[in-house]
Amino acid sequence: MKIAVCLKRVPDTTAKIVVGGDGKSIDESGVKFVPNPYDEYALEAAIALKEKAGAGETVVVALGTDAAQETIRTALAMGIDRGVLLQSPGSADGFEVAKAIAAELKGQGYDLILFGKMAVDDYNHQVGVMVAELLELPCVSAVSALTVEGGALTAEREIEGGVEQLACQLPAVVTADKGINTPRLPSLKGIMAAKKKPLETKPVSLGAGSITVTSLALPPERQAGKIVGEGPDAVPALVQLLRTEAKVI
């Protein structure tokens, strides 16, 4: 079985974000970058599927700047066989990213193409599904359990108040949600081995796209809690504040 996993390098979710001078990008200086956590589920799923099958190839594809090589190495250290970096600064228009990734994957004989259900930096939820469409493959999104057998997959999705089970023939695209697995940490041996695994670099140029980011702002700072009084006597003051300050009623 040949499996591709698409991976994005994103700021650590605990990083303190500062908006850059242009007002529409983040200031990357001093920020730690990590593999997109949802993509880590996809990586683990790919490695586990190959281990179970006992044969096959796993390939990680990342679109990003040269800095993403480090992210790819992490995937290789976890156990992915080889990496491809599509060198590009990226685009706010997920469709442009999807086109570049689809072009890389097309005709390579992948049985399964895995994504995280979204990237935590832009919350777009788009690229995986668009790639599926561009490759004319079925797509199961936000999968929380996955098995592959006899050229078909079965998947579970957590939906409001329940679980949905789906089946689908391969080749297919799957985007991974939390709960699908616990991604392994790279082992020492894995880190050593990763240094010797192939990592191919291909420059790509993305189209202009039709979406642009116009501005980026941090959420309003959380104000310190206010104690307006105690017991029933405080109710009028509370109602007043909820009206005038918080504007929720």
Binding site: G30, T182, L185, S187, L188, I191, K195, A224
Partner: protein, 547 residues
């Protein structure tokens, strides 16, 4: 008055866990040289060794590994820091000084004696002059050095703490890493990763301040020192500020009691950031002395407040500093298959509060000795002793010798200490002749004095809980405890520990000691005077970016 003798309540070092008479397992990763700890000492050593091997060529590519307990490089490194660039120039001859990972040159300096509301500028003692030095963040230096090491083919293993040294007879033959993914009771749970063994012809301990492996090795090999090592605790914060600081500031006096040794510092880190910190000897008489709280009070002093007001706390951290100096250096720096460099050896000069460049330089010497030994095909104690000779003959030990009694003079109180230290400076360390003897910090008796609780304002001053959050510590709370606590902890000792620990790991609840291990930021302060710190799952602890 209630008195406490900390050593009475301190468990011994868990030697059987730290030193294991076992061969590396069949699956062990084979290395030529292993550095334990990716601080300035370990990384400088790895870089120097890789370069020596390349230049010489006769041994081919050496397998060099650096194991680091932090999840990412630099995340467990904390310093002031005013850095002397001397060994960096030697280690990176092709990098112009402006491109070294420093924030800015020292543009001016001032030393003040503080009183509660005022300050008197005093002449800068010669030991505290910093012209030609640079202000930097050690986390940033370490990340940059890591990149250089990687380019040279060094294997960097971040997130892999060393749990024990593997030994055969008197020789260190490798290390074992800590397991990950244990539950609170220490049983394998989800995400369990078993320990890995690594073999090495030379193991270089560069584990930093109060390193348990270096302590264990010395205890096991019976390597003493003229005086025991003594420590100070430094608590530091980095702030974004609106008003730029134009000089480095050191202060003495308030808020410390007269019988505590230490002082504060404030350094500019570019136009809109400053570092502020307080360093206090862990031999302070007052059992209620709390370095975190005192730093909070310090920030309210007009001298500092004027910079911090309207600014924002970016990061908080804490770490100990070995302050024993020359007389606390071990009798040997090396053994069979083993070398020690940097803070775990004790290469800090206290009067100038400098350790980074000594760590780098000692790491480089260790690399040279290791390389010569590998070339000779003999990494035994006799060959590796070339390191002792190099380091003892260098400016590192010479500087420490010049200031050999400086810190010890303060053992008898601050003012007398001040006078003595002036005489020592004038006589290049010859006054008062001989060695001032000292006890370990745990053997210094403490007095329980009345204290008023401190209430943070959450604008300029913060509680320990908020501080730990600002260290980036996100250790999972189901981790087994890595702290070895004595069985007999009376309430006043619980109180004492709650003040020594800057991170709220220890609390007194009723008459009991409560321990919150996930809070730990690996500063090692309580290891010095109380419960023992041991390595825990990789990636635990703080995630410093700019310390």
């Amino acid at each position: 008055m209630t008195r406490i003798l900390p050593v009475k309540h301190q468990p011994g070092l868990p030697l059987d866990r730290l030193i294991k008479a076992e061969a590396p397992g069949a699956e062990a990763i084979e290395m030529d040289v292993l550095f334990v700890g990716a601080g300035p000492a370990g990384l400088a050593g790895a870089i120097e060794l890789a370069r020596l091997a390349k230049a010489d060529g006769s041994l081919g590519d050496l397998n060099i590994g650096v194991l680091e307990k932090a999840g990412g490089l630099g995340e467990h490194n904390l310093s002031g820091a005013v850095v002397n660039p001397r060994p960096f120039r030697e280690l990176f001859p092709d990098v112009p000084v402006e491109q070294l990972p420093f924030r800015q040159p020292v543009s001016g300096e001032a030393v003040y004696l503080l009183t509660e509301g005022g300050s008197v500028r005093i002449p800068t003692p010669p030991t505290m002059q910093n012209h030609g030095n640079y202000v930097a963040s050690l986390s940033e230096i370490v990340r940059w050095m890591g990149g250089k090491a990687e380019e040279l083919g060094v294997n960097l293993f971040a997130g892999f703490p060393v749990d024990s040294l593997l030994v055969d007879g008197t020789r260190v033959v490798g290390v074992r890493t800590t397991p990950a993914g244990l539950d609170r009771e220490g049983n394998p749970a989800d995400g369990y990763a078993e320990p890995t063994d690594l073999s090495a012809k030379v193991t270089v301990l560069t584990e930093g301040t109060r390193g348990p492996l270096a302590q264990a090795w010395r205890q096991w090999r019976g390597v003493g020192s003229p005086n025991p090592q003594i420590f100070a605790l430094g608590v530091k914060e980095v702030w974004d500020v609106k008003k730029p600081l134009d000089r480095i500031i050191h202060t003495l006096g308030w808020p410390l009691p007269k019988d505590a040794f230490g002082g504060t510092f404030m350094y500019p880190m570019g136009p809109s950031q400053v570092a502020i910190g307080l360093v206090v000897g862990l031999d302070a008489r007052d059992a209620g002395l709390d370095v975190h709280e005192l730093l909070q009070k310090t920030k309210l002093h007009p001298l500092f407040r004027s910079y911090l007001e309207g600014g924002e706390l970016v990061e908080w951290g804490a770490k100990t500093i070995p302050e024993g100096g020359f007389y606390a250096l071990p009798d040997r720096f090396s053994g069979d298959g083993l070398l020690m460099a940097g803070d775990c050896l004790g290469t800090v000069e206290v009067a100038s509060l400098k350790g980074i460049h000594y760590a780098v330089q000692s790491g480089m010497y260790a690399a040279r000795a290791a390389f010569q030994a590998l070339k000779a095909g003999d990494t035994g104690a006799a060959k590796l002793a070339a390191y002792d000779e190099m380091l003892r003959g260098s400016y590192v030990v010479a500087d420490m010798k010049k200031r050999r009694n400086m810190r010890l003079a303060f053992k008898n109180g601050f003012y007398l200490g001040g006078i003595k230290s002036v005489l020592m400076t004038l006589t290049n360390g010859a006054f008062p002749g001989g060695q001032i003897h000292s006890e370990s910090d745990a053997e210094e008796p403490r007095e329980v004095r009345p204290r008023t609780p401190f209430v943070p304002d959450n604008t300029l001053t913060f509680s320990k809980v908020d501080a730990v959050f600002k260290s980036g510590n996100a250790t999972r709370d189901t981790i087994p405890s890595h702290l070895v606590v004595g069985s007999d902890v009376p309430p006043e000792v619980a109180d004492f520990l709650s003040h020594v620990c800057p991170a709220g790991v220890y609390e007194r609840v009723g008459d009991e000691l409560r321990v919150n291990p996930p809070n730990c930021v690996d500063c090692k302060a309580t290891d010095v005077v109380g419960p023992r710190w041991t390595p825990r799952e990789g990636g635990s602890g703080p995630k410093y970016r700019v310390m």
